[in-house]
Amino acid sequence: MASVKLTKVKKVYDNKVVAVHDFDLDIKDKEFVVFVGPSGCGKSTTLRMIAGLEEISDGTVEIDGEVVNDLQPKDRNIAMVFQNYALYPRMTVFDNIAFSLRLQKVPEDVIYEKVTHAAEILGITDYLLRKPRALSGGQRQRVAIGRAMVRDSKVFLMDEPLSNLDAKLRNQMRAEIILLRQKLDTTFIYVTHDQTEAMTLGDRIVIMKDGYIQQVGTPTEVFDMPKNLFVGEFIGAPKMNVMRTELSRENGKFFVKPFGVKLEVDGAKGEALAAKHAPTGGVILGVRPEHIQLTTAGAPGAIPCTVEVNEMMGSELHLHVVTEDGTRLIVRTPTVDLDAAQRDALSNGSRLYVTFRGKVMHFFDPATEENLLN
Amino acid sequence: MAPTAFLQRGFHMKKYSDLEYLRLSKGQKFAYRLASFFGGIPQALLGLLLGIGRFFKKIGQGIGGEVADLVLTFKNGDWKTRISYLVMGFGSMARGQILRGLLFLLFEAVFIFYMIFAGGHWLSMLPSLGKIGPHEEYNPVLDAYTTVYGDNSFKILLYGVLTIFFIIALIFTWRVNIKQNKISEQILRSGKKLKSGKDDLRSLVDDQFHKTLLALPLTGILIFTVLPIVFMILVAFTNYDGTHDGYNNSLFSWVGLDNFRTMLSWSGSGVNYSATFGEILTWTLIWAFFATFTNYFLGMFVAMMINKKGIRLKKAWRTILVLTIAIPQFISLLYVSKMFAKNGIVNGILMDLGWIKTAIDFWGSTAHSGLLARVMVIVINIWIGIPYLMLIATGILMNIPQDLYESSRIDGANAWQQFSKITLPYMLFITGPYLLTSFTGNMNNFNVIYLLTGGAPTNAAASGAAGSVGFTDLLITWLFKITTGPDSQYYLASVVGILVFVVVAVISLIVYNVLPSIKNEEDFQ
């Protein structure tokens, strides 16, 4: 159990490519932090620098107040779970989990206790004498986690641990990681490219792109207040709808006019814009699919559009609609309140009206793509 | 079209965009790609030259940087560091790193000891390669003139080179020693502790483990490959041969570029080395080409036959072929060579059958530049080479994704189209580097030629320049013949060896730079 502090950490490869720029982050004891971003954003590199598998080009990494830059991985008291499990093929499950303890010369009966205990938690007791190749993907991942568990290490590192699993298993393992975390009660650093994993697992999320941190915050913070357009689009599925429009101000009230329909930025968003003295003019407007509502013709702020594709997801519909000026929007609407006739009215090619409220709008500077409310 | 216009078009080759290229006819496409390939060669060579230039520039800059760092370290360093410029390892010892310091000091002591008692002598003799040769001297005890041996050119050259190696090693170690001081000062200044001798030893099995692993293999390569190669390159600039063996009969000495001039000038007085060299080089290239590609395609063919669905006893067929790999070549090749001898089994059987009246002289016929022998070595080489290729091709063929074949069958491809559009490109792509090494390996394929023919039949026109030369002689067997010939013209053998290196290097570089399929090694990881 320990805090991890990264100060101006930088990674430059031999070919002068900079993978991570001045990475600053304070991870508190027992915190679960998720690094998330598209591939090549430097998230794994950062994790591997914390683990000691990658040399730190500049800056310092501290674990529990001690600078570990020059320590070998084995001396950092960390545990790590790898994307492809990295189980030792010639060892049984038991030996895999016991490997680190044996290197520490822990007595065999203690090893037995620890390994069987971990196996029980993970539900792999029946497989202890099998070789990794005789296990399914999910079971292998459990062994990998078990191997990390028995070490009682200060920090638990996970590098895309679920990305080799199929969707169903991934959901299940995700839940198990949450349980595991409650049991272990230690510091977790978790790397993923999947925003759902990030949102569901992390106390805090670090969103990265091209080696730079884009935003650090709780899941709610990054969802409600994306610092820039990239974060706004990256977090949430389906992706946030983005449109270029004009922000205008009349009588102290802010208005936007997407697709020729004038909408008032009402509620707290409007007040916040006013408080920030937001400049009027061109703006990038972002609205999440789940925040667009269906409405009727003639209702205030009704935007006419045509359904292009209707995706029935079961609990909800994803409507890909085209507005009159040709912009494509995605609308997410729950199916629970729709009867059969209403659903038919949303079939491909039919016309409908949508609208959204001011409080769900996100405004980004068209030049810097930063959130206007930063 | 006027020829000049054509030439201009040739030199400023039009670069087509992707869409333009697609509109070209089949022939145009081929011509375009051919032109791009050959157009790429000058660029590749230019790139190589620039690369060499960059390399030297980098070295120059590196040395400049090192010198500047040395001066700075001295200026900014404390007295422990400064003394280390003279007494290696002093700084380390003074700062408590006894083990490191002692090793540095030991190395310096050994070096000084060596230089005083041996190295200095060898080094001073190196420019002359010895002053006093063997000579007759009056021996008062025997009351007769006896031969007294003087300097030994061979040893002077060998140990001179070794001494230079040693000096380079010392400079390097000295530099490391000073760098160590600088780093230690920095560490101490930042308030941290230095590594102890125990830490140093521990790191040799951990973060410095590669040094431990490489120590022995690299020492071996340095002494048993690098040193001999440097020595033999230097021999090319001397007159070392059987009559100047450096000790017993006469010293040898530096002759500058004379040997290269002899070998490469077309108007040699008396014997014409360059013609002989050219002739052997041509045959070497022809041989390497046929030896490589006959094996490649026939081996692939055999592998495809064995691997075809529905063919049984796959393992048995393979095992029969692989026998030729298991049995040492000197047995199989020598035996086959004798089978085809004038009084050998093949002739015996053919005559018994009545197919021929007189024995065929497979290895002796000089008709058409020894064509018969040349064809025979290529054919017998197929016998030796197919099994390897069969194994390699089998491995690769099994890796070709089956769905490629399935989808091509649905698209209506026949067996030949499947081979030419799927199998062959895949094989060529994967085995590109192998083909190159196999080509250069065949250029130096001593065993097959030496064991089968020993170079025969004799090429009377080319012989005489440096012993007898045969029509099937490769450069490498010629080189061997020169060294074992009556005069043991080692200097000439060295020149040939260097030229072989140049030919191999140029071919390799061109292929590496022009072929797109040769991939970066990291791509495989």
Binding site: L87, F99, L103 | M305, Y335, I349, T394, I396, G497
Partner: protein, 287 residues
């Protein structure tokens, strides 16, 4: 007609092509085996020690093998066996050290080292024989002491042949090393406990090729033994038997010797063929 052809069963056309292939394979097998059959048959020929124009001996017997037993062949065979054994052991260590290092460590001079070895490999090795011979002579490792001398030369530079082995190590996921290092293993422990148990195929391949090499070397071995019978290996001795002045008496003995040399190597090879195939294939693919 056309339609008929279209409907000619897949089976029928496969049967025709398979028959052709079987015929070809039988022909190839015969061609490949003939020299070996001949050598075995001639090793049992008693009536004449010369080479003759027929295959089947007129009189059979063990004479050639007995002559072999009574000659220096025994000693040479033992020499070669010792050389092969020791070389196989040491060369494997050298090659594995080099290839594992180049596969797993990223140190400053790595790329330069690999390029340097590539360039060194372009020099014809034949060239260095003279000097290596002289060095061995200075060390007193020639003629009667040729066995340790030959071992030294075979082993010393063997790490240059690291390519196949490195290609194999490259296929073992690096995350295994990393996991073990995080688990608390030193680099040496990673190699010993994790990688080596996985490297069995390449270890066997390296041992096998290293063991087979010395049986066939006669050029350098001839230099080093330099006419001293007790320092020769089988290849040198047998090569001499086919010289013009000896071939009359020794030809069938050569055949018998060939059989005796080939049998153990072939048996070993056949037993370990699987690993050899893996190595050769992997090596070519990795380049």
């Amino acid at each position: 007609m056309n339609n008929q052809k279209r409907h000619m069963g897949l089976k029928a056309s496969a049967r025709i092509s398979n028959t052709i292939i079987y015929v070809l394979l039988v022909v190839i097998s015969v061609v490949w085996l003939i020299p070996f059959i001949c050598i075995v048959l001639q090793s049992f020929r008693v009536e004449n020690t010369w080479q003759v124009g027929y295959v089947i001996p007129q009189k059979w017997g063990w004479d050639n093998y007995i002559a072999l037993w009574n000659s220096d062949f025994k000693r040479r065979y033992l020499n070669t066996f010792i050389i092969a054994l020791v070389t196989a052991a040491l060369q494997t260590v050298f090659v594995l050290c080099m290839s594992y290092t180049l596969s797993r460590f990223r140190f400053k001079l790595r790329a330069g080292l690999m390029r340097f070895m590539l360039i060194l490999g372009m020099f014809p090795g034949m060239l260095t024989m003279i000097i290596l011979y002289r060095v061995l002579k200075d060390l007193g490792l020639t003629q009667a002491n040729a066995v340790p001398g030959l071992i030294l030369v075979y082993v010393a530079s063997s790490a240059m042949g690291y390519y196949v082995s490195k290609g194999f190590f490259d296929t073992i996921p690096k995350s295994l090393d990393e996991a073990a290092r995080v688990d608390g293993a030193t680099r040496a422990q990673v190699l010993w406990k994790i990688i080596l148990p996985l490297a069995k195929p390449i270890v066997i391949y390296t041992i096998l090729t290293a063991f087979m090499g010395p049986w066939g070397d006669f050029v350098f071995a001839r230099y080093v033994s330099f006419g001293t019978s007790s320092g020769m290996n089988v290849a040198v001795g047998m090569y001499n038997w086919l010289n013009l002045d000896q071939i009359g008496q020794r030809y069938t003995m050569f055949c018998a010797g060939g059989v005796v040399v080939a049998i153990p190597v072939t048996i070993l090879f056949m037993c370990l063929q699987r690993y050899y195939v893996e190595g050769v294939t992997g090596g070519a693919v990795k380049g």
